[in-house]
């Protein structure tokens, strides 16, 4: 591999046009490969618990699509234009050290995602073993296989985006075929009318409460992609291929999986896909389906780990380290947590809710900064300038106003909906928690921008005027 291409893929240097290799088809396939994993099935299972089938279809589409659009406008578009990942792009409105504060939070949430997927791989393997051998798998195999899955993910990340692209070209078409077969099996075994008219399995009291809860889950699912969108966006040849690849793969394909999983949950009564795939498809087909789910999880996990490790390069201690060292630094804590997979696996909805609380306001901040104040123009020199001469140094490397507003938005969310216990305040069913949270962020940062940032040219927001002059010359 050419040294320049190697370095641009594995470091935080901008990816220039000649090094980009994704058009709309490849972008869509990679997004599908990233998006379709067990988390889709888990979300579908949660939908089936709380709402009826028709509502599940609509809310899954609405929540996922709005979440992905918001996250993609915020993260994908700047990354596609400048060839930088998400963590690099947010320096423009958070400052260098402000970005590191946020990045530290991402590391924790992404550790959770990696272990969730790895633990689902372990559950799939256990179910395959039980179906083929007829004996319950030993309990120690759950953490053991989880650890092996994390190690295999690390190996694929070390190989880099080219390896991921090849994995997707093989895995995604196979997975889509399996999904179609599952749908046909579902319809042939269970009356379609029964599925369409299925009621919620175990809802809370109050239909509106359940609708708003699943909307928050699906919006969280859509927004949860925000940290990783830049790493893929910067590999696209055009902005539309980057954006629509996100929408096709991370929204539409995931919605289809949510619906399939919800339908299976209504029919068979289990939200865990590793328990219904074999009863639904029979041993042969069910095992094949689980193998593809395992592969899908591996691919998705690889992307999560790859994106996170790109972010680690922002810290001085990792910026000049070899890729295997950087990726290993993330893999080791993931392996440690994998000794306790039940804790993470059993709190999946908490991860989704935290994603809305964190990434909703961040998306709003980034959209305001990039489109409204900076007119879609970033000063790359200041992005990479680590000294206080950078436009984005702010105060001690942090845009404190943005950080404070971000924290206030999270507090707003948690005051309306407790992401840990799901206890909600009285206004939750009227407003959701995400809308007020993002509204607080939008109003406060917009006012701050109009009253302080623009008049005093904080962070050199007038930079776009210089760029216009350069191009016009």
């Amino acid at each position: 591999m050419d040294k320049q291409v190697y370095e641009s893929q594995f470091s935080t240097l901008p990816v220039i046009k000649s090094e980009r290799n994704l058009g709309l088809l490849d972008s869509s396939l990679i997004n599908i490969g990233w998006g379709i994993a067990t988390w889709c099935f888990l979300t579908g299972g949660l939908l089936a618990l709380l709402v009826d089938f028709k509502t599940a279809v609509i809310i899954s589409f609405v929540g996922n699509t709005l979440g992905v659009i918001l996250a993609a406008l915020a993260s994908t578009i700047p990354s596609a234009k400048y060839g930088i990942d998400t963590y690099t792009s947010i320096i423009s409105f958070l400052g260098k050290n402000g970005m590191k504060i946020i990045l530290a939070i991402f590391l924790i949430t992404n550790l959770g995602w990696v272990v969730v997927l790895a633990s689902m791989i372990a559950r799939s393997c256990q179910n395959i073993y039980e179906a083929l051998v007829g004996v319950v798998a030993p309990e120690w195999s759950f953490p053991a296989i989880t650890i092996i899955a994390v190690l295999l993910t690390w190996w694929s990340v070390v190989k880099g985006p080219s390896a991921l692209k090849i994995m997707n070209r093989i895995m995604v078409p196979g997975l889509l075929v399996v999904v179609v077969i599952m749908i046909i099996s579902l319809i042939s075994k269970y009356d379609l009318a029964t599925i369409v008219n299925a009621k919620a399995i175990d809802p809370y009291d109050g239909k509106l409460l359940n609708i708003i809860l699943v909307f928050e889950l699906c919006l969280g699912a859509g927004l949860s992609w925000w940290p990783g969108l830049g790493a893929l966006g910067r590999l696209n040849k055009t902005s539309p291929s980057a954006f629509w690849g996100n929408v096709f793969g991370l929204s539409f394909a995931c919605v289809a999986m949510n619906v399939l999983s919800a339908a299976a949950a209504y029919s068979i009564g289990g939200s865990d896909p590793t328990t219904w795939m074999i009863p639904l498809g029979g041993i042969t087909l069910g095992v094949i389906a689980l193998i593809f789910v395992i592969l899908a999880n591996m691919t998705s996990n690889s992307y999560v780990m790859y994106n996170t490790c790109l972010g680690l390069k922002q810290f001085n201690v990792f910026s000049n380290r070899k890729w295997i060292i950087v990726s290993g630094s993330f893999a080791v804590p993931a392996i440690i947590i994998s000794f306790f997979p039940d804790f993470v696996y059993g709190n999946y909805q908490m991860l989704l809710n935290f994603c809305v609380a964190l990434f909703g306001p961040l998306s709003v901040l980034q959209i305001l900064d990039y489109y409204v104040f900076r007119k879609q123009t970033i000063n790359l020199r200041s992005i990479y300038n680590k000294t206080n001469s950078s436009d984005y140094y702010y105060t001690l490397g942090v845009n404190w106003a943005a950080v404070i507003i971000f924290i206030l938005s999270i507090v707003t969310y948690c005051a309306i909906l407790n992401p840990v216990t799901w206890e909600s305040s009285g206004i939750f069913t009227m407003t959701t928690a995400s809308i007020p949270s993002m509204a607080v962020c939008l109003v406060l940062y917009y006012l701050y921008g109009r009253l302080v940032i623009v008049p005093y040219n904080i962070g050199n927001v007038d930079y776009y005027k210089n760029v216009q002059e350069i191009i016009e010359e």
Binding site: I69, I77, A80, G83, R381
Partner: protein, 70 residues
């Protein structure tokens, strides 16, 4: 006034990126290239924006429909 010139980028950023010299020179080349063309990709087109707006409107409408069923 700034110009898209690698020497200008080098003077402004040399030693300030925290990268080793080999990576830094690669960075200067890339920044110069990106500044010359105003970015590596164009903005979303008006057609894209129209489709995005339509998707959002459809989502809001579906949500309202869903709530009206209660």
């Amino acid at each position: 006034m700034k110009t898209a010139n690698i020497d200008d980028v080098r003077v402004e950023l040399a030693g300030k990126t925290g990268l080793d010299p080999v990576f830094e020179e690669l960075l200067f080349e890339r920044i110069t290239s990106i500044e010359t063309y105003g970015g590596e990709t164009a903005k979303l087109s008006k057609t894209d924006t129209t489709f995005i707006t339509a998707l959002v409107v459809v989502c809001v409408g579906l949500m309202a429909l869903c709530i009206s069923w209660i």
